[in-house]
């Protein structure tokens, strides 16, 4: 264990330099450390009824009958509703996520099946965990008691878990109105891949599988709702990442004007994408609050979260690389199958992310990618930290190592030979990006990332150790993986800045925080943009009443979008302040400066004016009254920042592992991550984001898997069998970073929330395969649990031996 804090506390007064770039300690912490957090379940709602959901025990079945008589008679039960009771409400669709950008539609004509999800199942259930009925009772204990008394008769139907099987001719249909079980399909080409493959010196063909695992925030999902008895406004507390979308969907579902719905996401205990989509429970709780005329609360339990909140990652890649004799990539072909689960919740988001991140930092002249999303009788899959990128990086980076083995090249050298250079930026891949524009890497220095990773991981030293041979059945391996990440997804984000009469600055942004520390980093940006002290800025995020529009904190977009909206709003407010001060002081605006909340004349003749004095609380004696009435709250701006294109982050990871041949256990000896997220606003927070992302990636690489039986029953529904790593499994990481500012925005920032999670599965698989190279093992899927490593060794003819 290492000693000492990583970051010394920041003194509140800076040395006149900008707040941006400093490891400012978080303003969030004090409250959270005292137990004064305000997560959904902490909001006191006297008289609230609690909801509990009856969920399908079958993966695929017709509902023959539902009898709620006994449940209704149970103590404390207020209401029991089935699908029929709420069938008049519109089925749920994640409309924004299902929309195909016009450019993409025009160029690639993708297929997107629309599968609205009934708020409660009516005729059919499609996965284990699908809500069938809801009980509302005086408290959760009584609600859960009554769940057991709801009598549902099912007629089981054939179950589809395997996406390949679900696509076969004659497979049972999940959605009767669809032609087959295809959820999405899209194909894209660059150049002449067939010719490139035909003329290649070497071709590798492999099948790699990204396995299913889940976000698993420590706070499960929760929703509560209350109709204000005075205003009639519906207030919804949801631990969502996208409060404005919840507002729109709730208003649509309940037939209300969006302005009559206020969605609040204050403290959120981790999201990672799972809380970035709409869920049926989120619609039913506000509905219940209106129908019952009392507050209603639902808090999910862990089993529900693991089995019935969104899953992620399950993809099959049938990938081929074509290269010349020196290892230069000529072409990439990939047939990607994505297991969508039972509903198409988020359309092209994950599959197309996989498409446009497959090539990563490499120069590939000819490309042929085809992706199909498949509906199966499993829980729906949606974006989770990385959202299609870890899956593609796993396939591509594994294939690169197979190609290196085929050519007898050092894997790092093969990568170096194929990297796009910094002098080639902006680099056009020939593909179309997620927003439908030609894909462009705006900036980056991929060779430098790799150079640093190779040096820090001591590639030569590891190779020397390998030549000495493993000791006691412990084999050392080293692996590398690189990625790019198009961050800062649009369409926009909103920031509103108001200067209060006291001179305090209120900043409201559309993007809430789930632990990213927006109240600190956004305040740093605002303080710099306006010219006020950091601690004069109060940040509100995640309250739809504070900004008229907003999107949310998903897709590594908050800093790029909300950060730049804040910056622009701050600069505009600064102009207004200086203009107002010029009128007040009777001097030209260009003769004034604003720093640390004080307006001073550059010629130093005029007295200084504080922001508080200007904003109206304490007018200076003797100054003329403003004749145009503009003072105080006039000092406001609302900005919608629309990113012109993606800010591309990138990284190179390396891992040195030791694999125990006898137990199959993998120990990480050294984990290196070199990343580039452009300009860093708060290095302490940034490092925390990268570290946390890598920890989730390590979990997926070595431990975590959401397993289904062939009957569609989830087998890892508790933390006893779904293995989230503890402190003992996550080593200290060796981090480094470079900074190539993004030309896509004024701040030069790029997103980094997801980046850490993208490479670990690939890098650890590469390292384990490297360790087991003497036995000819090829790693084709994770997680690399001891039992799977032992399986690989047995399959390679390595006998089971006791130590």
């Amino acid at each position: 264990m290492s000693h000492g804090p990583s970051h010394a506390p920041q003194q509140p007064a800076p040395d006149g330099g900008p707040w941006t770039g400093r490891p400012v300690p978080r303003v969030e912490d004090d409250r959270l450390l005292r137990g004064n957090g305000r997560y959904v379940d902490d909001v006191a709602l006297p008289g609230a009824a609690e909801a509990a959901f009856l969920r399908s025990p079958h993966a695929h079945a017709r509902i023959r009958s539902v009898d709620v008589t006994a449940a209704l008679a149970a103590p404390g039960v207020v209401a029991v509703w089935t699908g029929a009771d709420v069938a008049h409400l519109p089925a749920m669709l994640n409309r924004e996520e299902l929309r195909t950008p016009p450019g993409l539609a025009e160029l690639l004509d993708p297929y997107v099946a629309i599968t609205p999800m009934p708020l409660l199942a009516t005729d059919k259930v499609l996965y284990v965990g699908q809500p069938v009925a809801v009980v509302l009772a005086e408290n959760r204990y009584l609600a859960e008691d009554a769940l057991e008394l709801v009598d549902v008769r099912y007629a089981p139907l054939p179950v589809l878990v395997d996406p390949d099987r679900a696509l076969t001719e004659g497979a049972p249909l999940l959605h009767d109105d669809l032609r087959d079980n295809t959820a999405v399909a899209v194909a894209t080409n660059v150049g002449d891949p067939d010719a490139a493959f035909a003329s290649a010196h070497t071709v590798v063909s492999e099948e790699f599988q990204a396995h299913r695992y889940v976000a698993s925030p420590i706070e499960t999902r929760a929703v509560s709702a209350q109709v204000d008895p005075y205003s009639g406004e519906l207030t919804v507390w949801s631990n969502t990442q996208t409060p404005h979308r919840v507002r729109e969907a709730t208003a649509h579902t309940l037939g209300l004007d969006p302005e009559r719905v206020r969605v609040i996401a204050t403290d959120v205990g981790g999201g990672f994408g799972q809380k970035g989509i709409l869920y049926v429970e989120e619609m039913l709780v506000p509905y219940a609050a209106r129908v019952l005329g009392r507050p209603v609360l639902w808090r999910e339990d862990r089993n529900e979260n693991l089995t019935a909140s969104s899953h992620a990652r399950e993809q099959i890649h049938r990938i081929e690389l074509a290269a010349d004799a020196e290892g230069h990539l000529l072409a990439v072909r990939d047939r990607i199958t994505v297991n969508f689960g039972a509903y198409n919740m988020t359309g092209l988001v994950v599959p197309y992310n996989s498409v446009c991140h497959l090539l990563g930092p490499y120069r590939v002249p000819h490309v042929d990618i085809d992706v199909v999303g498949v509906l199966t009788n499993t829980t729906f899959a949606t974006p989770y930290r990385g959202a299609g990128r870890p899956e593609s990086v796993f396939a591509m980076e594994r294939a690169m190592d197979r190609l290196a083995a085929e050519l007898g090249l050092e894997p790092a050298e093969l990568r170096a030979r194929n990297l796009v250079g910094p002098d080639e930026m902006p680099y056009a891949t020939g593909l179309v990006d997620r927003s439908g524009k030609p894909q462009s890497y705006d900036s980056g220095d991929f060779p430098e990332l790799l150079r640093r990773a190779v040096a820090k991981a001591d590639l030569e030293g590891v190779r020397a150790r390998q030549r000495e041979g493993g000791r006691d059945g412990r084999l050392v391996g080293i692996g590398f993986a690189m990625y790019i990440e198009a961050t800062g997804l649009g369409p926009f984000e909103t920031a509103r800045i108001d200067i209060a009469p006291s001179g305090r600055v209120k900043l409201a942004i559309g993007a809430p925080s789930q632990g990213q520390g927006h109240r600190t980093s956004m305040a740093q940006i605002a303080a710099d943009a306006i010219g006020v002290p950091f601690d004069a800025v109060d940040v509100v995020g995640g309250d739809t009443s504070a900004t008229p529009f907003g999107v949310g904190t998903i897709a590594s977009r908050a800093l790029v979008n909300a950060g730049n909206a804040t910056h622009r709003a701050g600069r505009l407010v600064r102009e207004k302040i200086i203009e107002a001060a010029a009128r007040r002081l009777g001097v030209p605006a260009d003769g004034l400066d604003l720093r640390e909340g004080v307006i001073t004349a550059k010629d130093a003749e005029k007295p200084a004016l504080t922001l508080a004095e200007l904003a109206g609380r304490a007018p200076l004696p003797g100054t003329p009254e403003p004749t145009d009435g503009r003072h105080g709250t006039e000092l406001s701006e609302t900005v919608h920042f629309r990113p012109p294109g993606f800010a591309v982050s990138s990284g190179a990871h390396a891992a040195v592992v030791e694999v125990d041949e006898h137990t199959g256990e993998t120990e990480i000896l050294h984990y290196v991550a070199v990343h580039d997220a452009g300009v860093i606003v708060n290095p302490m927070i940034a490092e925390g984001q990268v570290t946390g992302g890598i920890a989730q990636g390590i979990g997926g690489a070595l431990y975590e898997e959401m397993i289904y039986g062939p009957d569609g029953q989830p087998r890892t529904g508790t933390y006893m069998d779904y293995l989230v790593p503890t402190s003992s499994e996550i080593p200290d990481l060796d981090l480094d970073e470079i900074h190539t500012p993004s030309p896509m925005n004024d701040l030069g920032v790029k997103g980094l929330g997801e980046g850490g999670a993208i490479a670990p599965q690939a890098v650890l698989a590469n390292a384990v395969e490297d360790a087991l190279r003497p036995f000819g093992v090829v790693v084709r899927r994770g997680p690399l649990s001891p039992s799977r490593v032992r399986d690989l060794l047995r399959a390679a003819g390595r006998p089971t031996t006791a130590r």
Partner: protein, 190 residues
């Protein structure tokens, strides 16, 4: 309704009448100490300590993450020992001395060295698991001798954090132990 039972001030939380919708397994009167204040309450035998603290006493700093004793977010100190409040029944705490995160630095009192270390080392992000880690770390700092590295690792492995990757949590606990045992009995090192 659960809130009929609760008051915000544990010191005055004396509840004679069961709420109108008691579950059938009966009620018990328990007396205990919560963050130094005496509490008397009527509780159902199946009421979890976590729900007692959160829903009845409105001490919502103790968080519930898994309700089956794995994640450690709900950890409180029962007679000085870390315990999973989601696996403990309220009735089991009759006569016990309970401490929750709210009791560490009440009101405007300065943060304890453990709390301060989590802030200074950025050993927290979303803050949901934090109270559990803080209570376990507090128990470590209250041991008569500095716990060794294996003991610390063992204690921390009883908690899940999904945000931080643990490194800064380890640093925070180490800093708090350094501070606590700077002049005290020498530990066996971290």
């Amino acid at each position: 309704m659960t809130t009929d039972l609760a008051t915000s001030d544990p010191a005055t939380a004396t509840h004679a009448a069961p709420p109108p919708l008691a579950e059938p397994s009966g009620w018990h009167e328990i007396r205990l100490t919560v963050n130094g204040a005496p509490v008397t309450a009527q509780v159902e035998s199946r009421l979890l300590l976590s729900d007692f603290l959160r829903d009845r006493l409105r001490l919502t700093g103790t968080h519930v993450g898994c309700e089956h004793g794995v994640c450690g977010a709900c950890t409180v100190l029962v007679d000085g020992e870390p315990a999973r409040s989601c696996l403990t029944l309220a009735v089991q705490c009759a006569g016990a001395e309970l401490r929750t995160v709210e009791g560490l630095a009440p009101g405007d009192a300065p943060l304890t060295p453990v709390q301060r270390a989590f802030h200074e080392c950025h050993g927290m992000q979303c803050g949901f698991c934090t109270p559990g880690f803080v209570m376990t770390a507090t128990a470590l700092t209250e041991q008569p001798q500095r716990p060794d590295a294996a003991d610390v690792a063992d204690a921390l492995s009883g908690h899940l954090c999904r945000c931080t990757g643990y490194r800064n949590i380890r640093r925070a606990v180490c800093q708090a132990l350094d501070e606590r045992f700077a002049d005290g009995p020498a530990g066996r090192g971290e």
